[in-house]
């Protein structure tokens, strides 16, 4: 190995990122010195923290091409998606609670649970929901959305980039279809914002969810963009109380978190281009390194329309959780759900038509601002060793070598 690396190495940046030390530094004074409540309108402590929140709002607005007033702070993307989806559905419903035919919502099968579960809830409450099935490449296109659009469609919610695959949906084009039909368009941009150029005007977005900890900011803070003009989008609040955030999201503002989120947004804007190029080179090296020496390696999702930092790879005849145990110095995720009671592998991979066996055999490796070339070389070497080792242990690999078609066997399902 050319360079030594400090283990364990972190390749799970799609789960969460390290908080940038410059972000932590910006946050610190707001714990112990400027600890006022921005809602305290009549003293210095309140004014100081309000000013800090205003700055953060500007920093985030600048990152996504919005106006500061269009940013509403939340506790993160789960809350953001809940607020955007349930809040819009309640506001634009065609009929009142308890009735059916309240309106039609379009989403996709491989969205995050923080989108799917609110949609399921709305279904129970009288809304119709269409779950689009992605193609084998994982992409949701504008054409797919157009085809299922109805006269009573009130909301389209499609994520910008998929959290397991990194695949990029046709967001500006979907936004254009929605604009044309006068339908509200929400995008869960949790994996996208901070890493890829975003302009809510150019990209035809009405509602957009983002999170601090996916972009080198702190956990427990995020927000949504809510369009204020052409058209003005309104939401029914999901958390009620003191009327903060213009009544859309009550609760004392998480000032330290918001300051951190703002700083993280500023840094992402500054470093986006260089980060993007560096990560793309690392990801290409990783995929080339693994598929160069190993057989039966499959990169899942569209090869080009993908975030530069996420790689979802299946290694045939090897089970993902077993593989993760063999590479315990590499912290990543698996599409295998062997830890859950259900034994069901990733629904995201399944929605692409990837067989359950290959879904169980997948790893998600996601890089970040501090991932080094040496770490990628280390990962290639370790994973290659582990896959070969586990194939030596795999009855499926033996069968494959003997020319037996594994899919033709009648397995004893349990």
């Amino acid at each position: 190995m050319a360079q030594s690396v400090k283990t364990p190495i972190y390749l799970d940046n799609a789960a969460t990122t390290r908080c940038d030390p410059r972000v932590v530094e910006a946050m610190l004074p707001y714990f112990t010195e400027e600890y006022g409540n921005p809602g305290s309108r009549n003293h210095r402590f309140g004014w100081a923290s309000e000013a800090a929140v205003d700055t953060a709002r500007e920093q985030i607005a600048a990152l996504i091409g919005a106006q500061p007033k269009e940013i509403v702070f939340t506790s993160g993307s789960t809350e953001g998606n809940n607020l955007a989806i349930k809040g819009a559905a309640a506001m634009y419903a065609k009929a009142g609670p308890g009735q059916s035919g309240r309106g039609h919502i379009i989403t996709a099968m491989h969205e995050h649970k923080a989108t799917l579960d609110p949609c399921k809830r709305l279904q129970k409450e009288g809304f119709d929901v269409t779950y689009l099935e992605p193609g084998a490449d994982g992409i949701i296109t504008a054409e797919m959305v157009r085809k299922v659009m109805r006269d009573d469609t009130i909301l389209v919610t499609i994520m910008w980039a998929n959290n397991e695959l990194g695949t990029i949906n046709e967001v500006p084009e979907i936004g254009a279809v929605c604009r044309e039909k006068g339908v509200i368009f929400h995008t869960d941009a949790t994996q996208w914002v901070g890493k890829m150029p975003t302009d809510v005007e150019r990209d035809n977005i009405d509602l957009l969810t983002f999170s601090g900890h996916k972009m080198y900011g702190p956990k427990g803070v995020g927000g949504i963009y809510v369009r204020r003009r052409r058209p003005r989008v309104r939401l029914v609040a999901q958390i009620e109380g003191g009327g903060q955030e213009r009544g859309i999201r009550s609760g004392t503002l998480n000032v330290t978190g918001i300051v951190g989120l703002g700083k993280a947004a500023e840094l992402c804007k500054q470093e986006m281009e260089s980060d993007q190029q560096r990560l793309l080179a690392l990801r290409n090296r990783l995929e080339k390194g693994l598929s160069g020496t190993l057989e039966h390696v499959q990169v899942n999702g569209h090869r080009e329309r993908r975030l530069p930092n996420i790689s979802n790879i299946s290694f045939g005849f090897v089970e993902g959780e077993g593989l993760m145990m063999a590479i315990k110095d590499i912290c990543c995720s698996s599409g295998s759900a062997c830890t859950s009671a259900s034994l069901e592998p990733s629904y995201v991979l399944k929605s692409l038509g990837i067989g359950d066996d290959l879904a169980h055999s997948s790893l998600r490796l996601s890089m970040g601002r501090w991932t080094t070339e040496a770490e990628i070389e280390f990962a290639i070497e370790k994973i290659t060793w582990a896959v070969n080792h586990l194939r030596d242990l795999s009855p499926l690999y033996d069968m494959h070598k003997e020319g037996i078609d594994i899919n033709a066997i009648e397995w004893q399902n349990h």
Partner: protein, 142 residues
Amino acid sequence: MAYSEKVIDHYERPRNVGIFGTTKEVKERKDVGVGIVGAPECGDVMQLQIKVDPKTGKIEDAKFKTFGCGSAIASSSLATEWLKGKTLEEGLGIKNTQIVEELSLPPVKIHCSVLAEDAIRTAIADYQRKNGLPVSEEAHHH
């Protein structure tokens, strides 16, 4: 979730990995019983092969190959260790609960031990069938 020391030990130094022959070869061999259980879509496939001494009726050797998580690999590795030197009847006495206990498997991994017990039963039944012996017990299906 952290694995127990014994699971890690079996995972890192699996005992008796291997086969007594290819699928075709072991099918022909009367002294070898084969049990393949699980399914790729469930994320676990265990293959257990036992070699029986016809004179003593004892399992003289056992080998495994497993596609699965660390607990599945450890459960099958342990099963081969326990089977060696046992009669068929003694082999059938191995219960999944003993595997759970020995490896300190958490509740979500109990299915790995069930699969190992099934592999044992299936392999022994295969040997009995090949040799015209009464088949003791079939594996329970889930």
